[in-house]
């Protein structure tokens, strides 16, 4: 089997200039010197479509290129298979620099390694759905029988069974795009390129297609590069997202990194409206400094720590930081009063655990079902962090802050209520 983390496509400083007759080298030098796009256009008359774009796409990854119109995203995805000829830089597909290939060599790459889905579908109106779906195989010269079989399979997978003999004009926009998708899937590509495939569709169909495609991507383990201007789409589908502005990639990050840690104001303003809760996972909510103690530690110092951190449970871990149990404030305090040490025995509970990729909506029941923090552990049981009810709500508070329909829900109000919920009962604090 192929290596999961193998780099399937790499872009190295790819630039695309328009209107650069006679001054290509001069403009490229200006780009290397960091001269701005507007200045280059003004002084040299050349439009910088894509500017030193570099990224890697791994096998099985869903890579999204996002930007507003004019940001160069559609140009960039076209340069990847030289539908638009890149002016400079290297594009490596499967270890081969395709910018150096001849016309014929390039055709082989297009026939065998990539497939593309277009915003305006790009279907052949005089051919039937089935003939359109098999077009990629036809250019390859695959036999009639095999190509029918594969195309039929792809049509079934995109849910178009029964429409094989219709012409595209008889189909709705959403269905036409399914044909475009079937054509790409029947091609069985290493890399699937999608140029705003859903933006031409009306909102309900768009949402449905996005979800279906997300599922398809997982099931078939596709490697996809998707171009979009729709942030929700990018956040929903992307493993990693590259944000483009003025032909330049300004940040490449996972969805939660993008929202929680935007590279600059532009990205920040882009993701401002996004609701982080939708794609937050345990890792982005948790504290990576959980309260821990070892078997045999003094109960006194544990009490000190809990007071200091205002967290009323402690995880007991072994030397390898493996979680062995969780102890409550009451139990530890009782031990401290008798001057004892912590030990695995009575009063040690089995903690509720989750892994770092657990999505936030699955965290709620976990957090609500225990009075202790939830332990975030890896597959060997090593403690990576913890999540309290407080942390979960604080993470959401950011989201609520932007909820315009309910301006009353102030984050501080929520926080103060939460404050009490994790505190020990009155009898304990009075001690």
């Amino acid at each position: 089997m192929a290596d999961e983390n193998a780099v399937l496509l790499e872009c190295r400083k790819v630039s695309k200039l328009f209107n650069d007759e006679g001054n290509t080298q001069q403009v490229l030098k200006a780009i290397r010197d960091g001269v701005g796009k507007d200045e280059i256009q003004e002084k040299l008359g050349t439009v910088v479509g894509v500017r030193e774009a570099s990224f890697k796409v791994h096998r099985g990854e869903f890579f999204v290129i996002m930007g507003l119109s004019g940001s160069g995203k559609s140009t960039l995805i076209r340069t990847l298979i030289r539908l638009i000829e890149p002016t400079d830089g290297e594009i490596i597909i499967d270890g081969e620099d395709i910018t150096k290939l001849s016309e014929d060599g390039m055709r082989k790459v297009r026939r065998n390694k990539v497939a593309m889905v277009f915003q305006h579908y790009g279907l052949l109106p005089h051919k039937t759905v089935l003939e359109n779906a098999e077009y990629g195989l036809k250019t390859r010269g695959i036999s009639w029988k095999e190509r029918r079989e594969k195309a039929q399979g792809a049509i079934d997978r995109v849910g178009l069974s029964g429409w094989e003999s219709y012409r595209p004009s008889a189909l709705s926009g959403g269905m036409q795009q399914r044909v475009g998708l079937a054509r790409a899937l029947s091609h069985d590509p290493d890399i699937l390129l999608m140029d705003e495939p859903f933006s031409g569709l009306d909102p309900i169909v768009r949402r449905q297609m996005q979800q279906e495609f997300g599922r398809l991507q997982n099931e078939e383990d596709l490697t996809t590069i998707l171009v979009t201007h729709d942030l929700d789409e990018a956040l929903m589908l992307g493993d990693r997202i590259a944000i483009m502005r003025d032909g330049e990639i300004i940040q490449i990050a996972t969805p939660d990194q993008l929202v929680t840690n935007p590279a600059d104001d532009y990205v920040a303003s882009f993701v401002e409206g996004a609701s982080p809760a939708r794609f937050m996972v345990a890792r982005s909510v948790m504290s990576d400094d959980p309260l821990t103690a070892r078997d045999g530690d003094s109960a006194e110092s544990a009490v000190e720590m809990m007071r200091e951190r205002k967290i009323w449970s402690t995880f007991i871990v072994d030397g390898g930081n493996k979680v062995q149990g969780v102890m409550s404030w009451e139990t530890i305090q009782r031990l401290a009063q008798s001057g004892g040490t912590l030990h695995l025995g009575t009063g040690v509970r089995k903690p509720v655990t989750c892994d770092s990729e657990t999505p936030i909506d699955e965290l709620f029941p976990l957090v609500l079902n225990t009075r202790h923090p939830v332990a975030v552990v890896d597959d060997r049981g090593t403690l990576q962090g913890m999540i309290t009810k407080n942390m979960l709500l604080e993470a959401l508070a950011h989201d609520i802050d932007y909820d315009e329909e309910d301006p009353e829900s102030k984050p501080d109000l929520v926080a103060s209520e939460v404050e009490t919920s994790n505190q020990p009962s009155n009898e304990v604090t009075s001690v």
Binding site: R110, F118, G122, P125, G136, T139, R167, G180
Partner: protein, 286 residues
């Protein structure tokens, strides 16, 4: 003194053209004979086939084509009725001869015009050369084509077909060019992305999508060919055109009107049927 253009700066193009034609005749006579033989064979076979058909079958065929092309009972009746009218004027045989010449001329126009149109569409340089030639060919008085046709191919139907093709082919080239150039870029881009060769793109995308426009070109070519057969009768093409010519010579306006009406009828029949098929195809792909 500027009332008369000075004779000293005269260009004597006519002798050169004449010389060139005689030179061509002297050196390539065999080629012209060969072309003439091919065209004559095509023409004779077509004519034989068409005149061999019994007239009721021809009427039935026209009715069937009219119905399939237009799906309109009225059109079917009118178009078949026009053919009946030609027969009642007594011009059925001549109309069939004219039809054979038209079909041959359109066929040859298509064989010549399509590749030139494709070439013009794929190369801006070729387009820059071809376009003024087409402009010139279409503005040149149609009679002028008769003379070289006559010289190269003698009298009769073969030079008539040649002259007709020369006169009628420009719209086909023009519209083939236009049709291919206006094919949506998205379909071509998609085919390219799936590794289609330029030839595959031409065959799978450009030609099929340009077909409605190309068919409009064929239609125009047919109409121009019909107009040309009258003129071509001056160098011996038989058929309806000859009747018009005879009517002029004998100052017989009634006869001229009848023959003229028959040409119009033939034009309407061909036009409606080809247009109908073109429209159907167009609808199916949009």
């Amino acid at each position: 003194m500027f009332n008369e253009f000075p004779e000293t700066i005269e260009i004597d193009l006519r002798t050169r053209v004449n010389d060139a034609i005689s030179w061509l005749l002297d050196n390539f006579g065999g080629l012209f004979d060969f072309i003439a033989a091919v065209i004559r064979t095509v023409l004779l076979n077509l004519e034989d086939a068409i005149t061999w058909l019994p007239w009721p079958l021809v009427l039935g065929l026209i009715a069937l084509l009219a119905w399939t092309a237009t799906r309109s009972p009225l059109n079917t009746v009118v178009l078949t009725g026009l053919m009946v009218m030609i027969g009642m004027f007594g011009y059925y045989d001549l109309a069939m001869i004219t039809l054979a010449i038209i079909i041959a001329a359109v066929l040859i126009s298509f064989i010549i015009g399509l590749p030139i149109g494709i070439l013009a569409a794929q190369s801006d340089k070729a387009d820059a050369v071809i376009r003024p030639l087409l402009d010139g060919a279409q503005t040149m008085p149609a009679f002028v084509y008769l003379i070289p046709a006559l010289m190269f191919f003698g009298l009769g139907r073969v030079p008539a077909v040649i002259a007709t093709v020369t006169y009628a082919v420009p719209p086909l080239i023009r519209l083939t060019n236009l049709g291919i150039r206006t094919v949506t870029q998205s379909a071509i881009e998609a085919a390219t992305a799936y590794g289609a060769t330029p030839r595959q793109i031409l065959r799978d995308v450009q030609l099929p999508l340009a077909l409605p426009t190309i068919m409009a070109g064929v239609n125009q070519t047919t109409m121009m060919a019909l107009a040309m057969v009258v003129i071509a009768s001056m160098i011996g093409a038989e058929g309806l055109g000859q009747e018009v010519l005879l009517a002029i010579n004998r100052i017989d306006p009634g006869r001229g009107f009848e023959a003229g009406l028959c040409i119009v009828a033939l034009a309407v029949i061909i036009d409606r049927i080809t247009q109908g098929f073109a429209d159907q195809y167009k609808e199916s792909i949009s």
